[in-house]
Amino acid sequence: MKIIFHDKNASILALFAALLYLEKKQKYDFKNIMNKTMLKLDVINNQQGKLIYIGSDQDNNTIYITGRKRYKKIVCRVIRSFHKVMKLRERPVYFNLSPHYNNYMRISILSGKIKLPYFLQYYFIIRGIKREFFKLDNQIKDFKRRVRLYNWL
């Protein structure tokens, strides 16, 4: 399966969620992930919609993140129907991160738009992720269980 974590901008939150899914993430270990992946996020922010490969899990499902602006339904439909038409082996499964946005993350995005220094953007996004951590962690565990069940079936 192709597991796609998507939100409006392919933010650090999407990446964080993908790494949580892959269990590559220690609790609150944010510095490493940001240093490693900022370049990728820069690339995707210039090309919204592009899928970024993050890794594969133990069942060989591939994990991607993408930013799809406000067009969740259209982009998901396009990807799904394209997979059907091309008879691709891996079916796409989506995890929407938009419900996990809180005010800290919104401030971070806003500060990026008005070009405030990077450290402020990071500060707010990390505060936001820390706040959302347990809820997100639980949902991803649940999601993972469902993916495994689906694989098994």
Binding site: R68, I74, V78, S81
Partner: protein, 152 residues
């Protein structure tokens, strides 16, 4: 090979291009209004279903032709498709063709009247008039595509 023609709603210009490609419409003359009106999917796909691929038929070489509407998510969806194509390495099995570039103002206005304002009868006729005006451009575009994939 799979050929995908896409436009805004996936119901006017992409359908016309797909019809020319599959041979439902002639390449040497401008078709009559009723011929265009009778095309499958013409002005029939609702806006809610934008993003789905619709099978249109096969050409002489048995290539499958599909139509697709991308709405306002044109660039984003195109990027997604392109990255899937790159990951799966199916570059030679798919051809994605943009039919936006042949749209004229008449077709846009007609599409808006038909789809947004739900005034189907006048909207559809305006769209058909607009498509007939630029029909030769669609024929040229399809011929180019066919040349590229080695049919014509």
């Amino acid at each position: 090979m799979v050929i995908i023609y896409y436009c805004y709603g996936g119901t006017h210009s992409s359908v016309l291009a797909a019809a020319i490609h599959t041979g439902l419409l002639p390449v040497d003359k401008i078709p009559a209004s009723r011929e265009i009106m009778a095309l499958p999917y013409f002005d029939k796909i609702p806006s809610k279903l934008i993003g789905n691929l619709y099978y249109y038929g096969k050409d002489k070489e048995n290539n499958e032709v599909y139509v697709l509407g991308l709405g306002k998510a044109r660039k984003i969806s195109k990027n997604s498709l392109q990255s899937i194509i790159d990951f799966e390495e199916i570059d030679e099995d798919v051809k994605i063709v943009n039919t936006f570039k042949n749209l004229n103002l008449t077709v846009k206005i007609g599409g808006y009247i038909s789809k947004r304002l739900n005034l189907v009868f006048p909207g559809r006729n305006i769209v058909i008039y607009g498509l007939q005006k630029t029909y030769h451009k669609y024929v040229q575009m399809v011929t180019k595509v066919k040349k590229k994939i080695g049919i014509a």
